[in-house]
Symmetry: C3
Subunit: 180 residues, 3 copies
């Protein structure tokens, strides 16, 4: 019986590092796949915007700087200017706190951006160059980031972990983004 | 002999968390170092583009808006506009599926971008503001992302893992990007 | 006594995967929370820049393309153009080598960018469209990336690990960025 144990324990006691790493990879994917999905959707939207600009540009080759092209180009540039900011807060919020509310806010942002792009084309003057869309969503994602960092510091230095409560509150709060 | 075992088993049975974390860090680096390399190369290229624009701008201080400067500035802006999109799909594809084909596609994208930038300077009109370069590569990387997510979902809900097959196919398919 | 051991060893020998994953998450957060903090600060700064542009734009609705608006818009665009590059090297350097010097360099970059933005508004011509700010910091972060990759390759193929020495040197070198 002892020999059995001696043979058995090393197998059980030393967990296969390969197995742990496989598990680790699965766990990482579990925690980011919604973020990857939102990123993929945003990339598709970017390509859609760029193709719109390209079509307008090559279609009106005779009049290279028409008003319609100017508006399209400006709308595209405004969307592109805020894109890295959006990606940064989306991923930070998703990794630091919880991916589901972050991905939900990201999808709402994409809808708002689509509306902004389409609405911009109907305007007559370039009066909206800034962050006029999605400010509330970016604020929500930044807040998630900040709360995640504060929770991590409290866990490290005070030993108190409120993560589950915070995640529940965040999920409930993300529904408020649907308000017009 | 029992006492030996008693002394021995705890050592083996409780794997040092520090050791696991060290291993984890190594595993993470193993899975991303090619992506980091491509990112670094793209940053060097960005700086090269920016220095070109800067040199043109300060060199022709008397004529601030010459045609050559306009073209350089426009080429640089088009490259910068698609840069976050490229980085996002590169990293998502590399993390979700496999880093080697993603990094290979990334390097081809950098070559295509260099050609685009140099070719743009010889043109006479601003007729190429959109995504005219690297569409095929971005599509390939997006496809890798999507396949990675689908594979993860199938693994989670159906329990079937085709990852190794997919990785082999992806590696073979990435060679097709070399076709002109 | 044997039965005790038999009951005891499996518990100790198979470490709870959930526990390892929890630990893993904590370790990941430990290694990135400074980077997340710097990213959050940079996002706040981006929003500040965008609000400045927006205010200038809507405030002077009668004169849509005044010189002040042109300068603000150009300064904002230059900052936004280099933002993805900055984020990419910041995160790569922080993950590959050590987060504290990377985050420190990131904060200095944000200060330099603020100075650049404010200084740009006082200028009379658009003579600074390129990478005129933070070149030294981007170079430092790129160097950290490269050293991290080289160290990883040496560890994989030669088995020699100089990481601790490199991290100490990097921390000391990051203080040099404070030199004017």
């Amino acid at each position: 019986m002892l020999s059995v144990m001696l043979k058995m324990t090393p197998q059980q006691s030393e967990p296969d590092p390969q197995f742990i790493l496989e598990n680790m990879f699965e766990a990482v994917m579990d925690n980011i796949f919604l973020l990857v999905l939102v990123t993929l959707l945003s990339v598709v939207q970017n390509v859609f915007f760029a193709l719109k600009v390209e079509k307008e540009c090559t279609g009106q080759h005779s009049k290279p700087h028409s008003a319609a092209f100017e508006r399209l180009s400006c709308a595209n540039r405004n969307c592109m200017d805020t894109y890295p900011t959006f990606l940064a807060v989306l991923w930070c919020a998703g990794i630091c706190l919880s991916q589901a509310p972050a991905a939900f806010a990201g999808i709402i942002y994409l809808v708002v951006r689509q509306k902004y792009f389409v609405g911009y084309l109907g305007q007559t003057c370039q009066s909206t160059p800034g962050f006029l869309f999605g400010k509330r969503i970016l604020f929500f994602l930044s807040l998630m980031c900040a709360v995640g960092i504060i929770n991590h510091l409290m866990l490290s230095y005070c030993g108190s972990d409120y993560k589950e409560y915070i995640q529940t509150i965040t999920k409930a709060a993300s529904a408020l983004l649907l308000l017009p």
